[in-house]
Symmetry: C2
Subunit: 392 residues, 2 copies
């Protein structure tokens, strides 16, 4: 520092300030569409949210690079607004014995559904090819789940013109992502539907349980001085207002968009979302911890399912497909956050606008509630006697 | 309705409006001290929070009526401001076999600590005598955990001049409490330290897990049109602002006050609160699900502990007492919410004032973030091209 001239120092500050003018600062509406990999994600949904002034993610998970390229191209025909792509960080393969034992348990269900179980193979979700695609045709933001990319990968994305957001579920993950150079953190509370974004899916940590969104926002803010995007159970404008008040730059909603006409949500899944059965965490469908609506498959196999992703994802795919085809919700992974029953069947753009209006009203109301009282806040009021109906 | 004259209708409306001028509308600071039964609750802490313009609860749980009367009397010498008392709703006794089997498992630990295990008896926490005491010398608010009082009990409290708040952890509990006539609901998220307030402690529901505070506020608000007090993992002014934005009338904090000099928190407990080990849910200490900092006892016995409250509470009391006396945190129930590591060692009144200031600043900041942009919010922005550094 001492070797810098004043001019060099000012230039450095200016460059730093440029770098921090992030997409989140430019959004008309602080609402982000969660990626929703595995069916619900469509170019139409992503474009609708970005066109309404929010920010739409397109899911890259489960897609090969060429399928992703097609979806990206289609999305670009539907919107000129910035969009994002979400990638799964590859894990490591699971012990085959655990997977085989689990497959044996599913045999009866497969027979009854008239399908053969899938081949329980490991893969890296076409990681390298999708990186190259996104370097060649960059999007505004690339976000990650299931880990943090290496600092070199983050640098390459930034050089290509993309911001890098890393999804975190614990304070130590947040520190890691900040140290690696992330531009923003997606802070995922335990309320969230679908996969936990945890860097490592460790069954030994199940006893701790997940950290609730509002607690996690406070814990992460104490560790990380970069923008936060809050996600997990946000279904109303009041909850969006809440996470903004808690210090988030935006709210990311997934489940709330599942019933939009633009979403690729299967019919049997839409029906389940219109009901109000409780949700639970499970590894039964994919081998990675995820929150879904309790159903027959979840209740029957959660206790036995090992941490083996994506092996179990491939193993159970034909069963889930059979459930969707036959209209049997008991076989389908009905990913949903804890507030799914508050969802609406609205076009995505209209939903974004309604939620933003509700959020503004909620903040206004809360501000009125907390305005300094006539007597001056912070003064001792011990001498004030109780009102007639409220003896002390 | 049709048989009422206009005059009668107006009188009815006026009476209703009187009834709804609740204590929560009159608080200078929307911060409530949680009850903190079992040691940390003191008259000094309760009075300090109420004297600072917040609202202090005094715990009645685990106390006989005469001990509660003494504490109430002492609190009244310390403050003229309104205070509340929290009561445990009595449950039902547990099967003796389950309790005996658990006691057998603890025998080694008891020997090592040089104590005899307590008598695993059922009791109703001196329920009837404490009701009589609180009818005779009413407080501003009586709140409840572990269930909802009968409508007749609620009516009696209201006739005595007390408001009735019922603590809920699920939407169906909220409906029940509203139907029974509660004046307000304390909405307890899964992040909360200490006992889950659930009406029934059902191990079969453990697979669902608790509902996070922000999700629960949204779900309860959809069911209940009475004031809500949010609790669970609230440690900062930003989180207080968040729950107000989510529609709560106030935030109830417990863990945040445990390190105040006025609290009766044991030394070994204070030390654990200054660290950052994870928390977990357990029935190991009391036979009722509660969140505490993970330690030796919690990790060793959580899987085996049956739902048997207050039997296990009495059974383990000598062990926990020995742990406190010997400075061994491994034997002590270290109740704490998920954000306990953000707590401060401040006098309670100062903490209330600091949190209120932080909350006001957080709401102001969020309001700025969500003010309508120059271009007019809600308009299609699809034609707006991406900024140079953020290709779409």
């Amino acid at each position: 520092m001492s070797s810098l001239t004043l001019r060099e120092l000012l230039v450095e500050r200016w460059v730093t300030s440029l770098r921090h003018e992030l997409l989140l600062d430019r959004l008309a509406v602080p609402i982000v569409l969660a990626p929703l990999a595995g069916g619900p994600s469509t170019p139409e949904l992503t474009a609708a949210v970005s066109n309404a002034g929010g920010f739409g993610f397109l899911a890259a998970g489960y897609l090969g690079a060429s399928a992703l390229a097609e979806r990206l191209e289609r999305t670009r025909t539907l919107t000129g607004a910035p969009i994002g792509v979400n990638l799964f960080i590859p894990g490591t393969s699971a012990p085959p014995q655990a997977v085989d034992a689990y497959a044996a348990r599913l045999a009866d269900d497969a027979r009854q559904a008239g399908v053969e179980l899938g081949a329980a193979r490991f893969d890296d979700d076409d990681w390298a090819a999708k990186l190259e695609l996104l370097m060649a045709t960059p999007v505004a933001v690339v976000s990650f789940v299931f880990g943090c990319p290496e600092p070199e990968v983050i640098d390459r994305f930034r050089d290509a013109g993309s911001e890098v957001w890393v999804t975190v579920t614990r304070p130590d993950e947040a520190r890691h992502a900040v140290d690696a150079g992330a531009d923003a953190l997606v802070v995922q509370g335990a309320e969230a539907g679908g996969h936990r974004a945890s860097f490592r899916d460790d069954p030994a940590a199940d006893v701790i349980g997940g950290i609730g969104l509002l607690s996690l926002l406070q814990l992460v803010r104490a560790q990380a001085d970069i923008p936060l995007v809050a996600t997990g159970g946000i279904a109303t404008g009041a909850a969006i207002a809440a996470v903004l008040a808690a210090g988030a730059a935006a709210a990311q909603l997934g489940t709330a968009f599942l019933r939009c006409p633009e979403a690729g949500t299967a019919a049997v899944y839409r029906q389940a979302l219109a009901d109000n059965a409780p949700t639970a965490m499970t590894r039964a469908f994919t081998g990675r911890l995820a929150r879904g609506i309790r159903n027959r498959f979840l209740d029957r196999y959660s206790a036995a399912a090992p941490a083996a992703y994506p092996e179990l994802h491939h193993l159970t795919a034909p069963l889930r497909q059979a459930g969707r085809a036959a209209g049997d919700p008991g076989l389908v992974n009905l990913w949903a956050g804890q507030t799914y029953e508050l969802g609406h069947q609205l076009p995505a753009g209209q939903l974004v606008r309604t939620l933003a209006e509700e959020a503004r009203a909620a903040l206004q109301h809360a501000g009125d509630r907390l305005s300094p009282p006539a007597g001056g806040l912070g003064e001792e009021v011990g001498s004030a006697g109780p009102a007639p109906r409220s003896p002390s």
